[in-house]
């Protein structure tokens, strides 16, 4: 049986290209029917806030994020503590077509997967 895969999104959008390239890799895995679970943690939680990157001539990550439910990723896991420590109200974290699942214990969650792709 193929491995279960978890993708971690750890980087703030636009500050580090791994934010975008991580989402691209997640979509590529899903397109190959290796649908990963996805967990936004650390500065990665900023990816789920509304963004206006046109101001810095960057392409929005929204399109990549919004493609996830279409590729079968219907649950977006978020580290509750990461949001809290950054002063982000968890109801500000939204993704159309997906359910935001807040995790209090990310360690226990991560432990259940065979592989972790860390972006």
């Amino acid at each position: 049986m193929a491995n279960s895969i978890l993708a971690l999104c750890r980087h703030a959008p636009y500050g580090n290209t791994l934010a975008r390239e991580g989402l691209e890799a997640i979509l590529a895995c899903a397109a190959m029917d290796q649908i990963p679970a996805v967990l936004f943690t650390g500065d990665g939680v900023y990816q789920l806030l509304e963004q206006a990157p046109e101001a810095i001539n960057e392409k929005s990550l929204r399109r990549n994020l919004q493609a996830m439910p279409m590729f079968g990723i219907e649950h977006i896991h978020v580290c509750e503590k990461s949001a809290e420590t950054r002063g982000i109200a968890t109801d500000a974290l939204q993704l159309a077509g997906a359910e935001i699942v807040l995790l209090a214990d990310t360690g226990a969650f991560i432990r259940d997967f065979d592989q972790v792709l860390s972006f």
Binding site: E21, A28, C29, Q34, V116, L117, F119
Partner: protein, 130 residues
């Protein structure tokens, strides 16, 4: 045990690039196998044939190439990440009408599907840098 290494660190910039090389050597020396080394994000620069570090510094490219030759390693560079950063094979340089190619011998360009497949079939997947 079968390992896949994912390298996000650029050589001579992130220690992750050199750590990946040492990890690869240690893995093989311990009798394990490496299914694939996948270079992604800034890690694609590891595949540049044009790196010319000072002589008293480690030559990461040369080390990767000799490891590749000794063990027939699969060194795959993500094609999309490589194009963004100016790492091109002959055929990509021609196709994109760029003045030169710089993908080093021993490395090959491929899509993200190679990462997905490696994650699915390897016993362990380890990330370096990023």
């Amino acid at each position: 045990m079968q390992f896949t290494l994912v390298v996000y660190g650029a050589p001579h910039s992130s220690e992750g690039a050199a750590t990946a090389l040492r990890f690869a050597r240690a893995t093989l020396a311990a009798g394990h196998s490496i299914y694939r080394v996948f270079f992604y994000a800034d890690g694609v620069h590891n595949g540049s044939a044009l790196a010319a570090p000072p002589q008293d510094e480690q030559d990461l490219l040369g080390h990767w190439q000799s490891l590749q030759q000794d063990h027939a390693l699969d060194l795959t560079v993500c094609i999309a990440a490589a194009q963004r950063r100016g790492l091109l094979s002959e055929s990509e340089a021609n196709r994109l009408e760029k003045p030169s190619a710089n993908l080093a011998a021993g490395f090959s360009l491929a899509g993200l599907g190679q990462l997905a497949e490696a994650a699915a079939v390897s016993d362990r997947l380890i990330s370096f840098g990023g």
